[in-house]
Amino acid sequence: MAMAVARNITTDDALNNWFQGRWADCAQTEKRQAAFRRFSEVGLPHRRVEGWRWSDFSGALRNFAPAANDQRYDAIYEPSLFAALKPIEITFVNGRIELPKTPLPKGLKLAVNASTTAAYDMVHGLGDNGLISLNAAVSNEALELIVETGSKIDRPILVRHICSGTVPIFVQTIVRAGVNSTAKIIETFEGGGTFYSHSSILEIAARCRIDRLVLQDMDETSVIHNLCAGVLDTKSKFLQTALSTGSKLGRQETILHYNGNEIETELRSAALLSGNRHADFTSRIVHNAEACITRQIHKAAARDKGKAIFQGKFHVSRGAQKTDADMQANALLLSETAEANHKPELEIYADDVECAHGSTAGALDDDALFYLRQRGLSEASARGFLIKAFLAETIDTLDDISRSVFETHINDWLTATIDGE
């Protein structure tokens, strides 16, 4: 039986009807019913909800009329720039998962399963995240990616999300990395599409190392929410680097729970925004164990009416002694109308910890600009040098090919920025 969608979900009847129709078509397990009920209560996030005040999904999707069920899986897409890494490539083409046809390396297993409410189960109660509830309720398929105990996967695993059309897409990924395993996972979000929702779960066992790269390069009309909710165990390492060129509204959200001692995490992210593009990087790192290290750095460069959002929270539980956590967010505002909103937070209940956060926003340094120009660089070239220098810290630990892919996006953005001035 289809559950009525509360009127407060959106202000738009067409979207309400679409959600309701989609829900009616879903396999309605008890857990999914609970998730949809939760979504019906809270609706799409809007600016009056703390944590979403700068990322109004309800407003962004107003007047959005989803197409009838004409979801197309034949999108044409170029080879990935990451192809030089010879990755194991998995594609989500408008939500349909295509696994590689070639044999997988030993220790790696891939499967397409029914969606789960795992992300919803993990984050439910942490906030009124209607998007996660909605994804848990109406997503159809989930990619399951298993790295077996002790396995070192030498080739990167590339997960491409190809988006087009006006049908909202809801997809999931479940990553399970066994004890003492190693893997690099690259996620790209490409193309257009109107509304894309991806929830992923990471289960990282003891002494495991996972490198995660995220690249969002989508049309300026797209609305996207990409959640990564992870649970980490003792002495594991998680290194995440993300770059977004923004979209109409885009949120890259990372929620990590440290459930073992001596975990090390690095989170690096960059946003490059022009026009009316928006990029929101939100994270919540829950330190539940001792002697864990977290390093987080976020950089955003915005021009025109670009809007950069950073919301980072370190939660340090009572027993998480010797936590060493540092969070830095810096914004470079390249025009008077560009905007950066930062909300760094520390919530500390342990008494023997080192935690710090910093936040800056400003323009290019006039002294540095003059120095470079005095050496012969044109104004455009000097500005480009300084913008790249500003962003360098977010990508300088990547392997050469991955760094070169990220640099290509930065250079393309700079070229468009300089040409647009």
Binding site: F370, Y371, R373, R375
Partner: protein, 248 residues
Amino acid sequence: MLKIDNLQVSIEDTDILRGLTLEVPAGEVHAIMGPNGSGKSTLSHTIAGREEYEVHSGSVTLDGENILELEPDERAAKGVFLSFQNPMEIPGVATMNFIRTALNSQRKVRGEAEVSAAEFLKIIREKSKLVGLSDEKLKRPFNVGFSGGEKKRMEMLQMAIFEPRFCIMDETDSGLDIDALKMVGDVVNALRGPESGFLVITHYQRLLEHIRPDRVHVLAGGRIVKSGGPELAERLEESGYDQFIEAA
């Protein structure tokens, strides 16, 4: 070569240069000495094209061309080089990539062929030995973690690589030890020639022992108040600037 005529410059509504006139003929080294606040750095930044300095009147010509109309990078391509008093650190800028890009930008404007990566590597290795900077320093982001003296060596490295026609050295000697002073002298003397000129701004006579100037000028109150030969620097070392401050 460089002619400055009745130059009047202010910054943030404060008059700094008040009708400065000076000529440095090709092939000569001129030293400018003067008390703090006399306008020495304003003069160097104005010649180099810093836009915060507002030029109210006067002219600065290089080989007859008024360079005040040119952008800073256009002046650099014409051969104007400023060795900064306080060179900055620029994290994230790869040193060798920056210097090569700058060199080739200048060359491109002048219609000269670009220097290849291999040629550049040869040049920078040779010149870095001359100024005493190790390979490790060149691999760092620009000036990051450098001491004051090392930053001055980096200025001299760029000067040696760009081979500019007209060099302004803004208190390059400050913070340098005796060996480094000699290095600066070596770089300048190697670049000296009938087609190049130097304006050496300093507080002390000690640098001038390594770079023998053709003329010495005293800048006080925004004007040149006294000019003479190298012996003027020696006299200033003994008597100080008081008499000139009063005269200004």
